[in-house]
């Protein structure tokens, strides 16, 4: 394949050079959530904590509204966003449901169907 090939995959936010640059502060903040002190500091004052990492307005809104798709669009990497999800006590099925607009049970049912190879 060509060195700089890009391809669009609908419903997929490839974490590439553009996203890595755009989402740097957002991901850096989420990376900090590996530490309990950082999670406590965020919980005490989310806005101030976002400012510490120079989040853009769009990123701050996405964080405030727990809008995973918006975070991805603003350069979030799912691996770091997962740490924010952890802080919110959400698991991967909760996150899947939020992103696909399904209920958590509907999302889990889809996983079971996909796992069986029904689709």
């Amino acid at each position: 394949m060509a060195t700089n090939e890009t391809r669009e995959f609908p419903g997929t936010y490839l974490f590439d050079s553009k996203m890595a640059k755009k989402g740097y502060g957002l991901n850096k903040m989420c990376y900090s959530f590996n530490n309990q002190e950082a999670r406590d500091e965020f919980n005490a004052d989310p806005d101030a904590y976002c400012d510490k990492f120079n989040l853009s307005d769009a990123q701050k809104v996405a964080i405030k509204e727990k809008d995973i798709i918006a975070m991805l669009r603003e350069g979030g990497s799912i691996y770091y966003l997962a740490k924010y999800a952890g802080l919110l006590k959400l698991n991967m099925q909760d996150i899947g449901a939020l992103q696909t607009g399904m209920s958590v049970d509907e999302f889990k049912d889809m996983l079971v169907k996909n796992g069986r190879g029904d689709v």
Binding site: F15, L111, R116
Partner: protein
Amino acid sequence: MANIIGGITTSHIPAIANAMANGLEETPYWKPFFDGYPPVRDWLNEKKPDVIILFYNDHGLEFFIDKKPTFAIGVADEYHNADEGWGIPTIPPVTGESELSWHIANSLVEDGFDMTICQEMKVDHGLTVPLNLMWPGYNYGHVKVIPVCINCEQHPMPQPKRTFVLGQAIGRAVASFEEDLNVVVFGTGGMSHQLDGERAGIINRKFDIECLDKLVTDPEDLTKYSNLDLVEIAGAQGVELNMLLAMRGTLIGQVKELHRNYHAPISNTGSGLMLLEHTMPEK
């Protein structure tokens, strides 16, 4: 001479750590997954490998995107796990094997693989979950582990054809190590899954099973896929197939499949457990 006696593919998702910490192995949801493991554990306990070379990816514990190694190898005597932010238990230290690690690192760079060489690295669930799966109750302290970390988080990431030849180079490096050591190689992660976006939740059972088949009989055929092909076919995190391919690359002699258990879903992914016995090529 050091001798690779086998290769194992296994899932490494954090949900497994939670299931084990909460004693859920026998629940209907988890049983079909955990039931696959006893034969592999028995084989490991019988063969008693001295060293495990473990391919995994770091999901944001040791490495951030400030400096993101494409390939990293640990050369430490000990590795530590730490809080990953979502509440899976932090587990006891992992024993390292610095001499063989350095030998592999030297040999790889000589061979054209420009590794990041780490004397300290925190190891995340990608490495710790498989160890605890094979030696439950955190009873892995006796086995020496060499972590090899592959970037699967940020594009550009190494292509399947590259990770496969990295594996081959590690296989050759092990074969050229003087000391008599028995080595087993773990390829962890995968299989098809996607965590992000509106497309989250895809699992491609047919492709996963095809990959497991090919890993036994014709691994080179899998190197025809690019990472973007894998994203399309197996989801954004389907690129973790790279760790399985790297493992298979190290098996430069004859392989025989001893055990397999494919089960999907666990959490958001398909799980492919496979045990391959390996006979080193004649010198």
